[in-house]
């Protein structure tokens, strides 16, 4: 902004205009929500893939260090984080539209394309489970299962359900695995399988770990393990989880970077795909997030070089199963060491209704402590503090909720069907609760920011229109509102307000367009359109849609989104 210092009458800017600019400028110093500010995007299509699979030297395997992890993330780190007063920063691994590109951490699936019911039913699985005969090589110390090699040489772990709760863990795992795969995470191939005793062959060198070592695991021990389970028609039910491709290199941390992985360039607490897990895991009541359930796998390219793939494993305590297995009704509502709850209980002498009180099991086979009536989208807490959740903001949760809402009821029913629950009432209950919880999440997080999405430019050159969708309306979550209006104003690339304004309403699916977009500034016609949603008396901070003409074709398209909190 330039102001002539000669005689006022000859200044290039009038007093009124000067005053307006001062006011706007002062407002923008604090992050003014009604002007685009200084943010500008490169004139390029948003990136949907990042390069984090470049070959690197093989990293060392990291131990899980469970006890130390529990101490750090149950006791020490939450206190330290609070006292450190960390600056909340937006996620850093997003593209110009605020979406998470495909990477070794996350692959866009339902978020960018439709999935068929058959795809949901199968998930990432390439097979239906291990092929008999299955050679037992090692047993788990707790008697909950054993490791096998199947006929094809693949290694699996077979895990049984809790003795007095058939189908509980296996169903929870498969449902959660299918759904997390659908939203984009990297998960193992998990299936519910039934096998007969004679399909198992004991490896002569099979062992079972005990305190201070391991001892042989023989036929008697195997039979004792199976005797604790009740077969159905002579076949035992188990969860079969196929070993991930590659070589395990231990867990990824919840903060910082993996120092021996040059591809790891975004501190994990600033990854939207990790922050957004708050929404997905809350939906599924998946609380077992300890280090052992986050696994980096080394994928070798050759010559001792390769890259790491980042995976989630072990979901058999989701969907309220954890609350049953360890008798913790508070599971998914508070942390294992939750200072906030302890303080509240101490100060109130326990005289307050905790959110999980009244939550009971439905009395159906294979279903844990899981319902929708006691569900609070913003009330989820894993057992241990997960640092990305402490850094998350509403945009991270909006991103995750958007993806979640793309799952249709038939997708959810297909994931539940994969769990092979024997009681159809259990399957119906689980599907219904998941759908109800999904809608609660959508209703909550899509309303926290302006829920406009799916921006695109349509129309012939010179007469383009910008189209968008109100996700709250699209997903029928805008109950209680008379109808929203959308107010659009435009700015040139240099920040000047343009003489253009539109006020429109959406159709029944939440879609609307604003036409006759103004010409922007610069050779690429950079233009910014701010769209604000007014719902009743409430107006959320607008979305600034940055557009520019593509070099070569001259077509106007969206090159960036700036969502305000």
């Amino acid at each position: 902004m330039s102001i002539s210092t000669s005689h006022p009458r000859t200044s290039s800017v009038t007093r009124g205009e000067f005053a307006r600019r001062v006011v706007v400028g002062l407002a923008c110093v604090g992050g003014c929500s009604h002007t685009p500010g200084t943010l500008r995007f490169h004139n390029e299509d948003p990136h949907w893939v990042v390069d984090d699979r470049s070959p690197i030297a093989e990293p060392i395997e990291r131990g899980a260090w469970n006890k130390l992890y529990f101490f750090e993330y149950d006791v020490s780190r939450p206190i330290d984080w609070t006292l450190a007063v960390p600056e909340r920063r937006p996620a850093r691994n997003v593209n110009a539209l605020g979406e998470v590109p495909d990477s070794s951490w996350f692959t866009n699936r339902i978020g960018v394309r439709d999935l068929t019911v058959d795809e949901m039913l199968r998930g990432p699985n390439r097979t239906d489970g291990p092929v008999a005969p299955m050679r037992v090589t090692k047993a788990q110390a707790d008697g909950g299962g054993f490791f096998i090699e199947d006929k094809g040489g693949a290694t699996w772990i077979l895990k049984f359900d809790p003795e007095h709760d058939p189908e509980l863990g296996s169903a929870a795992d498969v449902v959660a695995q299918r759904l997390l795969w659908a939203v984009g995470y990297h998960v193992p191939e998990d299936s519910v399988v039934y096998f007969a005793r004679d399909e198992l062959v004991l490896d002569p060198g099979a062992t079972v770990p005990v305190k201070g070592g391991k001892v042989p695991f023989g036929e008697a021990e195997l039979d004792a393990m199976l005797a604790a389970r009740v077969p159905e028609h002579g076949r035992y039910r188990a969860l079969a989880s196929k070993f991930l491709v590659g070589e395990p290199k231990g867990p990824y941390t919840t903060e910082g970077l993996r120092k021996d992985d040059p591809n790891d360039r975004v501190p994990h607490e600033y990854r939207r795909d990790l922050r957004g897990q708050y929404v997905f895991f809350g939906w599924l009541a998946h609380t077992d997030l300890h280090a052992g359930n986050r696994l980096d796998m080394w994928i070798e390219h050759g010559d001792g070089r390769g890259h790491l793939e980042h995976n989630l494993i072990d979901f058999d305590r989701a969907l309220g199963a954890m609350a049953v297995v360890i008798d913790s009704p508070w599971d998914a509502y508070r942390h294992r060491v939750d200072y906030k709850y302890m303080l509240a209980s101490t100060l109130t002498l326990g005289l307050w209704k905790r959110p999980w009180e009244g939550l009971e099991r439905p009395g159906l086979r294979g279903i844990g402590r899981f319902d929708s009536r006691h569900f609070e989208p913003d009330g989820y807490a894993p057992r241990d503090y997960f640092m990305p959740f402490l850094y998350k903001d509403r945009l991270d949760c909006f991103w995750a909720a958007k993806i979640l809402m793309r799952l249709r009821p038939e997708h959810i029913r297909a994931a539940v069907a994969a769990a092979k629950l024997s009681d159809p009432r259990s399957a119906e209950y689980l599907s219904r609760v998941l759908i109800e919880r999904q809608r609660e999440i959508g209703r909550h997080w899509l309303a926290k920011v302006d829920p406009l999405d799916r921006f695109e430019v349509r129309g012939p050159a010179g007469d383009e229109m910008l189209c968008a969708t109100d996700l709250l309306v699209h997903h029928r979550l805008d109950r209680g509102f008379a109808g929203a209006t959308y107010v659009a104003v435009a700015f040139a690339g240099d920040g000047r307000r343009l003489p253009w304004r539109r006020t429109v309403r959406a159709d029944a699916n939440g879609a609307f367009c604003v036409d006759a977009l103004p010409r922007g500034s610069g050779g690429d016609g950079y233009v910014i359109v701010s769209v604000a949603t007014r719902r009743g008396k409430k107006q959320l901070p607008p979305v600034f849609v940055h557009m520019a003409r593509k070099r070569g074709t001259g077509a106007l398209r969206v090159i960036g989104l700036d969502r305000r909190l």
Partner: protein, 473 residues
Amino acid sequence: MNAVHSQAAPDRSRARLGVLLAFVLATCVARESRADEPADPQSRRAPKADQADGIATPQRKGARQLIWIPRAILYIPRRTIELALTPVRLAVWALERWQLETLYYRVFFFEKRTFGLYPSARLTSGFGVSIGMRMVHRDLFRNRGNLDVNGMTGVNYGDRLSVDFHSGWLGRSGVRVGGTVEYRLVPGDRFFGIGNADIDSAGVGDSIDALQRTDAVSTRFLHRYLRGGPIVTIRLAPAFDLDLATIFARREFGPPEKPRGDFATDDVFDTRRLVGYETGVDNVHMGARAVVDNRRTRGRAVASTGWNAAVYAGYTIGLPGDPSRYARAGFDVQRFIDLWGGTRVLMLRAVADTVVGPMSRIPFVDLPTIGGPYSLRGHARDRFRDRIAAYGTAEYIYEIDHRFAGFLFLDTGRVWSALNELVLANFRLGYGGGVQLRSKRGYIGRVQFASSIEGGFHVDLNFSPPDILRDPR
């Protein structure tokens, strides 16, 4: 020639200028092309993970620099806590690095963990710190019998060694046999006199006749005893047991080893009037005790509903040379009321203890007492003693989290010299609260703060594993 040259020079200059301009133009175009997407998308390289945001010019930050103020204020507390947690972190690291827990169980436990060794510690007002070890065998005779050997020592607490055992239920008989042996040396056990009087040290110096019940003075005496005997338990019905016990006791008394600011008992009281003080006690008690315990846990609190009640009666006679001859009876009834969700519980307790017989036949240490960390809290241990003692408790227990519970209590009680002097007046009142740590099996330990109208502040920190709702004495 010169004209040709002079005409050719401008032509060459123009050509050079044209080439230069073309070069510049091409360079600019090329540079813009690298900043934008190439015409062929397939040749487009994917950016690194932290370079995909497409931002050319970032948003200017607002006035968020004031964040340093709370950071500066909280810096010292943050580092202090970090420093305090460092040894714990190192301990956890060492525990995991060298698998110390595995080593501990391998050394001190059998594989099935039915036999173990625990450290124990206690801090009690008036008796200071005591530490010890506890050895437990939970499968004695391979019949789920129990052996519990507990040794504690402390400067003011003294020494204690106890052995409790039982055989487990013998087949389907519903009978369990066991016993107890306890040796205890208390260098400064407490005696305040007999009766319900207020503490008054004004008249100290004379030999007070405690049987007059007019004076209460805080004194200490040395108390050494050995007691033990067989116990038979008969299960009459589920949650209903009958204990039959014969307990021998030999006691000796004398001046305290460490008075700790209190008077010595024999300096204040006429010890000839305290039955057994000068000659010692050598008696045997035979008694029966019926116990009903149907406590149930609904939430993670130790007990949410039910009763834990005991009624007992017995008779004590002295061995040759000992004057003891009296009957004893009493009850201890606890009622747990689930107020809300199994995690807020009201515990009501009523206890009465009485001895029947001439005072000359009742050793002073066998008189019923109240006062201490488990009965009439907020008062010193054994603050009141007489023929009849009774107290009541109302305790509110609430869950802080699944391991910790807080509790608040009110205790009231008093002693009387005889049934015909039973008046419902001049009750003593104690109050306080604390926090208890529990596991799935029950109490692990508790810290309790108590006071009373009489004044004083009592702290009890106890990490012994047993159920401490009952007075363990």
